[in-house]
Symmetry: C3
Subunit: 177 residues, 3 copies
């Protein structure tokens, strides 16, 4: 198998200025280490909440052949939060089901999950998913949406993702649409 | 009662090329046969996943006075899937609640339901609903959203739909907004 | 504490023409009387379902320093329903989680809740929320989304909202994103 590349993009003014450690980005990397059987490597960057910088980072990760890019941070209602805007600017197709499910899952923990604008979309042959910024929500959201990711990559012409069945079950329907 | 017309539009490269039978379109027609008391007829077409062809088909079904148009297929994340794009291009109003509920219902069966971009909208006095392409999901989705359809047609100036109460209950709130 | 201002905007041709009483607008005011500890006052208007009038009313409420504006009415699929359109025209950011949760809650009562296009968004430093028009749904929807409102105002630079904990619990996460 070729090396699978996964972009991990932390969008946070404070993490980019080293005001605090990027716990969320590391949590994402830990998740994929745990679930993926494929040989893989992260393409990891931490940038401030600037829309044009986020767009550039997403573009360059796609050019480096990341099959999947996971962002964290910048999905709230504050003026500086612009990660979904950057994602929508690039993507040819938006997948609203990701945001709906992540908000629904987070709602079991915090009523403020409805403030999150996290979403997902397809940019060329890359799936981009916005996760929230809070470290504690990363695992909850990835557990919820991950089972749909391998089949999504199949459908958009991405690489074949194989998981450790003991940790998370990828789902590939047999019936074709 | 006048004849009620319902558009059934199958969007599928393979069904249009006769590579396989259009099971989903037939499943939609069977559903309405079962639930409707009104005298009705389907306006049925099978076309490939081409956005301009889908837009034209939706337009011509509206011109033929279809009060409701139900599509199947073309709602996934693949490059050729463009049914929601065609629907959004035409509709004056989108109704996101249909897609939310259909994804939520399908999620009980398959975790990949979050990949579906199915939606609904109002085009002039016609309600357009995108169903998924998979035959097994047709009935699940129609059972979930159908109870709201007759009242929706009332609100947009469409014909009065009457159902066999034994199969599905149309809901019309008494209190007006 | 400064006086907290909350806009209450009823969008309804019939209420504006005094064909019937604005029960929904009064229900919203009653809710805030019950839950808020802050000294506050409503900025209350009843206008017809005209998009430009709704946009103007929202703008002038923001100029009068309303930290929050709650609308009622005009969220359905009918031709005259244009409240979400006016809201989207003004807001810099939309918060889809509000509409998703309100539709989900209303779905426990009426299957026609999927016809509602209610949403929420941020306009400068003001949070705008569309509630449905039906009086019975006002309380259900406010109970569901209110716990997220005080923290949202914190995030967008609005005033600090304090609630009577016995009626509704505002939620402010400790962990920052």
């Amino acid at each position: 198998m070729d090396i699978l590349k996964i972009g991990v993009l932390t969008c946070s003014d404070r993490a980019a200025a080293n005001v605090y450690e990027d716990i969320s980005g590391n949590e994402i990397i830990r998740f994929f280490k745990e679930v993926l059987q494929n040989p893989w490597e992260p393409v990891y960057r931490v940038i401030p909440d600037e829309k044009e910088e986020i767009v550039s980072a997403l573009k360059s990760m796609e050019e480096e052949n990341c099959a999947l890019i996971v962002t964290t941070g910048g999905t709230g209602p504050a003026h500086r939060d612009v990660t979904p805007e950057a994602t929508e600017e690039l993507c040819q197709k938006m997948l609203p089901g990701f945001g709906e499910l992540m908000r629904q899952v987070s709602l079991q923990y915090v009523p403020t999950s409805i403030l999150s604008r996290q979403t997902a979309g397809i940019y060329n042959q890359t799936l981009i998913i916005n996760l929230p910024g809070k470290p504690s929500a990363i695992r909850q959201c990835l557990d919820a949406v991950f089972p749909a990711i391998p089949y999504c990559l199949d459908l958009i012409g991405g690489p074949h993702m194989v998981c450790h069945e003991s940790t998370v079950k990828a789902f590939r329907p047999k019936e074709m649409s």
